[in-house]
Structures are given as C-alpha cells and as structure tokens.
Symmetry: C5
C-alpha cells in the first residue's frame, strides 16, 4: 500500500454501469516523511475518508477485494484512514 | 485510476480474435492540475468517449471488469468521462 | 496497452515446460510521436508480427487472455499490429 | 520480490472490515547493495518481522497468496526475513 | 518479460510456509544492449539458472503460472535461460 492525502473529488456521471454510484477521491501520494512524491491516484473510498485526511490505498487487483469494489473496473481503493505512523520509534504523523 | 485526455485513435485490423471489433483510443495521461505527465496509454473505451474529452481509465486486471472487456487481452479501459474535479474545494477542471 | 516496434528475437531453449515452443520478440517501447521511450519488453506474439512492425502489446494478467498465452508464465503479449494512428485528426503513423 | 528494511509501523483503526486486525509495517525499499532506492511500501507482515530487519516483500496479487492476506485488500506482503545475500560469491548482507 | 543477469542468491529461512524450500536468486535487470538498467528483482528460479547466466523473468500474477510457483506469494519468476538475442538481424548476445 501507499500513503496518500485526500485532496479533492472527481465527478463523472457518464460511467461504466458496473460502477454504480461509487464516489471518486483524488489522492496525492506522499512518502513516509509526509511529503508529496509527485504522483497521484483517483481512488474509490471504502472507509468514509474526507478531504484533508491521510489514508492508505491499495492498487491493482487488490483494490477490488472490498465489498464495495468487488468485480468493479476500479484499480485503486482507500482501505484505511491513517491515525499515526512512526519511523524507528519517532512519530512522523498524527491525525489531528 | 488515472486521469487522461483522449487525443486520438489507433487502427489495428490484424489483431487477436478475442478483441473482436473493439476500438482503441490514444489517451495522454494528465496530472490533477490538468497538465500532461509525459505518459500515455492505448485504451479500450467502455463509455463512448470522444477525442478531446477528459476521462478516467483503469489499468491491469481491473481494465477487464467491464462487460465489453471481460476476458479480453486488454490492460487499459476508459471507465468514466470526467465532468469536473476540485482540489481543496477549488474547481480545477470542468467539462466544456 | 502500449505501442512498440518489434526490433528482434530472443532464443531460449531451456524454459519452463508450460511455455511450449512459444516464440519471443524483443519490442522497443515507443510513445505516440513514434519515438523510443527507452523502455522495452520481451513479448509473446499472438498475431504473427515481424521485425520492423509497429504493434500494441498488453502486459500483466491481460497478457494471458489470448488462446496462445492462457495460463502461461508470460506477462507481455503482442495482441495487434498497428495500421495507423492519428492525434487530433492528424495521422502520426501509417504502416508501410 | 524486492528487498526492504522495516523502518516503522502504521496505525489505522478506521479500515475496511476485511482487513481485521492486520498490522502494517513501513518498509524502505533497498537495492542489492543495501542502499535505499527512495521508494517505500506499507506492507502486511506474514512472518513476524520487526523494525530494523531486512525483508523480502511481494506486491500485487502475489501479496494475497499467504493465509493471512487471502482475499484481503492488501497489495504488499512481507513473505520472508532475509538472513544473507551474496553477489558473485561475495556476501553483501548478513543479519546481525 | 524482462531480461536479467543472475548475480547472486538470497537466503531467508524465516518465510511464509507456502514458500516451502524455494530458492531465491538476485537478478540484475538488463536492457536489450546487455547493459544494467539500475533495477533488480529477487526471483524464484523455475529453470535451473546459475549465477552469471542471462535469463528472462516474468512478474506479477504471471510469475505464479509455473508448477513451482502456483499459488505462492511470489511475484517474479525466471521462466527461461537466454541462449541468444538479435536486434535487426545482428546478434547482440550469445550464451558462452
């Protein structure tokens, strides 16, 4: 999984029928020092994340292993909201 | 998923039989500021996108989860046409 | 899918038995301006492509969706020979 | 697989239900000279690795082939702890 | 598939049980001019390759399509030993 920050939303009404009313979030990829890497992904949200939150997302076929995304043409899913992480025992990020 | 702009079409008559008459679109990858990243993909279109439109596409096995692409040797599918996206509440793109 | 130019062949007699007598082609990745990207792939050929031809190839599990590559340890397959492509209505490549 | 060094842990209580109480480790990718590549991954640990240990991890659908990660939305799993590796007969790394 | 040169071995006794006694080889990725690309992979060997040999390896789910790697948490497998390759009819590599 990669760490990311939810920065926005994508609206797309004309879509493959299998997607249903799924919402799409724009996620800026971050590294483990909480800095943007320059990458991003549009992800389906399986955990109720909001703009500004730091999350973990899975990509590829693993993104389809939630009840919400099963058998959907979706290759990136937010599967957890991050509370905190540490590096060598030192806290690097804490959710506000 | 990634954001992209449809810039052209690819014609290929000699093809694997499982592809049938599927059409291929040339998609320029864009970032969330609507700038080209330098990457591209040739994608199957599951939603009736046209040249000039901004779309979302899925890659890998997720690209085969539409009715159109099921069990086909296809690793990139346009699964939605983008209406709009915003970053931190500010609209970054609106479909004309 | 990505665009590529077939530039050579790879011979490998000591191989996993599931591969049978499959032939391997060396494919130089090209961008949509028909310039090499610096990348390459060794691909199985499902369509009878020859050296010098411009092709499309699929990677990952999608590369196993042809009759030839089904359940084989193969992660890249040429699934079409390109006749032509255009960008914004202007032809960029035509097969000779 | 890639080589990595476990550098920390990620805590995420709000998560997809299928993840259960799975723990997440922060893994810094290293090259075969034992130098950081600049990449990282958040991985599930299938082998009881601790911070400071050098490990191997699998990504993509292969990350779901352990009993622990089967059918979970997880795309990176530590599947072995590295004891040693050598290059051309010269030991490059030994576990302390 | 990608081309690579086997440069070493990785020993890892603490491992996921599904891996059994599988051996791991360190493979330096090479380009089609037989130069290192800077990348590497730790791969399972399905064909009896030795240090110094030039091989082809498959990644992702395709790496699990050999009898040896079926349903294992393994994302890279050496599936052939390269005898020779040519570019535009000129031999670029021959096994010694």
């Amino acid at each position: 999984m990669q760490l990311g920050k939810v920065v926005g939303t994508v609206v797309a009404t004309q879509r493959d029928p299998k997607l249903g009313e799924m919402k799409f979030l724009l996620v800026q990829q971050i590294d483990f020092n909480n800095k943007p890497t320059g990458g991003y992904v549009v992800a389906v949200d399986a955990v109720g994340a909001g703009v500004g939150e730091v999350v973990m997302y899975a990509t590829g076929s693993s993104a389809r292993q939630t009840v919400l995304t099963d058998q959907k043409p979706c290759d990136a899913t937010i599967m957890a909201i991050v509370d905190t992480w540490d590096i060598k025992g030192k806290v690097k990020f804490t959710k506000e």
